[in-house]
């Protein structure tokens, strides 16, 4: 109850009502949406989880990472390998997988903070590590190397619920990732209101002043990296068992890292709901554009034979540019203000 109270406390009455309605709609999605809609929604929650972990580093602690795909990839490969090689269920495999992601995060963090590598240079360090691990995995035969690593699936896997082995109906994956994303939200809310969160925000806003006040920069930055990489590692475990195939070039690609940042940037870096809100705007936006084009073709506003492949990406990019230009602090604070979704003075 305490966790729920903590989570709901920044929301106004309108915000709570809207949240409740949205929650009900999303909980009932498998009953009203097609499997395609559910796949899109699953992707949205997955990106929200990765976005939240990224936001924890930059938004809360002021550490820019553009290599978050590394932590996701390490979690994914570790859990998939343990499952495939020794039959370790992901419910248990998540522990060593996350531990490995955290360990790599701590290594990067230590190198960065110990040698005072900050800002964009720290971001470059994260990219370098992601590339390094990609190249290593590219050359490890027991991880499938460039040919990819595969988890076998069958029609039987699509039925029932086997949470321990992450095998089951698409609804299971949907509810699981929804729970994980909401769990991450609650965790971030808790952290933000904790002593740790205040330390992070102090470090983010003015590291020198924070240090002068006695905050151990190295230690608290390491905490941020560890928690963030751990969250991304959990997302990686989900990714591996949802996708069932891992290719180093895809999993560790910088594009995946940038994808993790987009939701937060559009939603609002440093805000609690920003990453999830941004992802909820961005992913369906692309799908709406596609559907809109199809509808225009159906109504013969556009010749049905016209090939408009790629237009979706153009329109999508244009809208994202508009959002970044006109709402540089993100959409969530603006929406909050307009709709009065949070209580005055409360952080969203």
């Amino acid at each position: 109850m305490k966790a729920i109270d903590l989570f709901l406390s920044p929301l106004s009455a309108a915000g709570r009502w809207l949240g409740a309605v949205l929650l009900v709609v999303l909980l009932l999605l498998p009953y009203w949406g097609s499997s395609y809609v559910m796949t899109v929604a699953t992707t949205v929650f997955y990106l929200a989880l990765v976005g939240q972990s990224w936001n924890l580093m930059l938004g809360f602690a002021g550490l820019l990472s553009i290599g978050h795909a590394l932590f996701v990839g390490v979690g994914a490969y570790a859990s998939a390998y343990l499952f495939s090689a020794i039959g370790l269920p992901p419910a248990i495999g998540v522990v060593p997988a996350v531990a490995l992601a955290v360990l790599i995060g701590l290594l990067i963090g230590y190198l960065g903070f110990r040698f005072a590598i900050g800002g964009v240079y720290f971001a470059l360090l994260t990219i370098a590590f992601a590339e390094f691990v990609r190249i290593v995995v590219d050359h490890v035969p027991w991880l499938g190397a460039t040919e990819g690593f595969f988890l076998k699936v069958s029609a039987a896997d699509r039925h029932g619920i086997d949470l321990a082995n992450l095998r089951g109906a698409p609804e299971m994956y949907y509810y699981l990732i929804m729970a994980l994303a909401l769990g991450a939200l609650v965790l971030c809310r808790y952290l933000l209101r904790s002593r740790l969160g205040y330390y992070w925000q102090a470090i983010r806003d003015d590291p020198e002043a924070a240090e002068a006040l006695g905050i151990n920069l190295l230690r608290y930055r390491m905490y941020a990296v560890a928690i963030s990489s751990g969250m991304a590692g959990v997302a990686g475990v989900f990714y591996a068992f949802y996708q069932n195939s891992l290719f180093p070039e895809i999993v560790f690609n910088i594009e995946r890292s940038i994808e993790a940042t987009l939701g937060s940037i559009v939603g609002g870096v440093g805000t609690l709901f920003g990453p999830i809100f941004g992802t909820f705007i961005l992913t369906p936006l692309g799908e709406f554009v596609t559907e809109g084009i199809d509808l225009l073709k159906h109504w013969r506003v556009i010749d049905p034979e016209t090939k408009l492949d790629g237009l979706k990406l153009l329109v999508w990019s244009f809208i994202v540019v508009l959002i970044v230009l006109f709402k540089p602090t993100g959409l969530w604070p603006w929406v909050c203000h307009r709709l009065r979704l949070t209580r005055p003075g409360a952080e969203g």
Partner: protein, 409 residues
């Protein structure tokens, strides 16, 4: 009057109607028995980095209904899906195509995207006929709904060696040293690694004297070509993509690196933009790749229809193998006489097509859903055209080997 008309349909009736419509729309009549038309989901990368390849593949699919219709094959309706060159989008789009009522899916060019689509198809019991994807595991995971008429990576590499041996034996010119120049991405490192490992196994008459990786986003290849020149190989084997192939050719000419020949495995060196950009200097390059066999009637029919629909554009393996994938679907549907998934699956298992468009004896799937051997060809550029020079049974021209020096062109 207005209110009467409104009240004629009560809210309950309207809700019931909407509910029934929604239910009907969400449950496609996929299990209909005797159907005159089959819905084929064509899943390709139509945007993103692989967009041009996706468009080429789609063109192969676009000419199929006309060609096959004239030959008595049943009608097909395409539903198009765009993977955006992303694995997760490929998965979502496969779901979308199936939701839209696709009885079978054709696609998806790229191994990762095809693997994502294969999992959806496997779980939803919808046949996936792969047009292009070389990853071996695709048909080694025990999938029951995946069918592939495309060579796996080892088949492509094995045939590349075999065709080289034939080429050297018939021309009487055998290089003793080869430099391997490859793009340093997943595709390039994987393929070049296999070539290095298998060269001794196939007892090739040459030694790979230099292995030169290069940045996939590189624009200036003067350093790499200088390395080639310094290694003094008799032939060059390239694993490239389009823009790098063009730039490397220009650099080879600029630095006057004359070789016995340039061999390529993979895309780039046979593509239309390459031929246009390099002109006479693109001639004589030999690509060791899966290709179309114009000695087959179906390939000639496809070519004729293609020239009418897309004048001035070449047919490559992209169009050929996508056409063949649609042919496989049309043939299975014709024999099954039904769009029921299990009927289509059974018909696909017993596929026996000899009149297809690509090199090889024909299309017959083994128990894994793979055509056991899909032979590759040796395709030489001549006057801006791609001509099959090997294997003999598919060849339309004799190979020029050694290639002509740059200055004599």
């Amino acid at each position: 009057m207005k209110s009467r008309m409104t009240s004629a349909v009560s809210r309950r009736t309207l809700l019931a109607g909407v509910g029934a419509s929604a239910l009907a729309a969400s449950v496609p009549l996929r299990h209909g028995l005797a159907a005159s038309k089959i819905k084929v989901g064509i899943l390709l990368p139509r945007s993103g980095p692989q967009a041009q390849i996706g468009i080429d593949c789609q063109r192969g699919a676009d000419v199929a209904p006309e060609v096959l219709g004239a030959m008595g094959y049943p009608e097909m309706e395409y539903i198009l899906g765009d993977t955006e060159t992303k694995v997760d989008v490929a998965r979502a789009q496969a779901e979308k195509l199936i939701d839209a009522g696709a009885h079978v899916i054709v696609g998806a060019f790229d191994s990762g995207q095809t693997m994502a689509a294969a999992q959806v198809c496997e779980q939803k019991n919808i046949p996936l006929v792969v047009n292009i994807a070389a990853v071996t595991k695709l048909t080694e995971l025990g999938y029951k709904w995946v069918f592939r008429n495309f060579p796996t990576g080892p088949m492509i590499v094995g045939d590349a060696f075999k065709n080289q041996k034939t080429l050297f034996a018939e021309s009487g010119a055998t290089p003793k040293s080869v430099a391997l120049l490859h793009v340093n991405d997943t595709f390039g490192t994987s393929l070049s690694g296999a070539l290095m490992a298998l060269t001794p196994k196939f007892k090739m008459p040459y030694k790979i004297v230099e292995k030169i990786p290069y940045d996939p986003y590189g624009r200036d290849f003067s350093a790499e070509v200088r390395k080639v020149k310094a290694a003094k190989p008799e032939a060059l084997w390239a694993v490239s993509r389009l823009n790098d192939a063009i730039a490397i050719t220009k650099e080879l000419v600029r630095q006057r690196v004359d070789l016995m020949g340039i061999l390529s495995t993979g895309p780039g060196w046979y593509e239309d933009p390459y031929l246009q950009a390099t002109g006479k200097y693109g001639d004589d390059v030999i690509s060791l790749v899966p290709w179309v066999d114009y000695k087959k009637e179906m390939a000639r029919r496809m070519r004729d229809a293609y020239r009418k629909k897309f004048p001035g554009r070449s047919i490559t393996s992209n169009q050929g193998y996508t056409f063949d994938a649609v042919l496989i679907v049309a043939d299975a549907f014709k024999r099954a006489g039904s769009t029921k998934n299990t009927d289509l699956q059974a018909a696909l298992r017993t596929t026996d097509i000899t009149n297809n468009t690509t090199i090889g004896e024909g299309i017959r799937f083994n128990e894994k859903g793979q055509v056991p051997h899909v032979p590759c060809g040796a395709v030489q550029n001549r006057d801006g055209k791609q001509l099959v020079v090997l294997p003999k049974f598919a060849a339309v021209a004799e190979p020029i080997w050694p290639m002509r020096p740059w200055r004599e062109r």
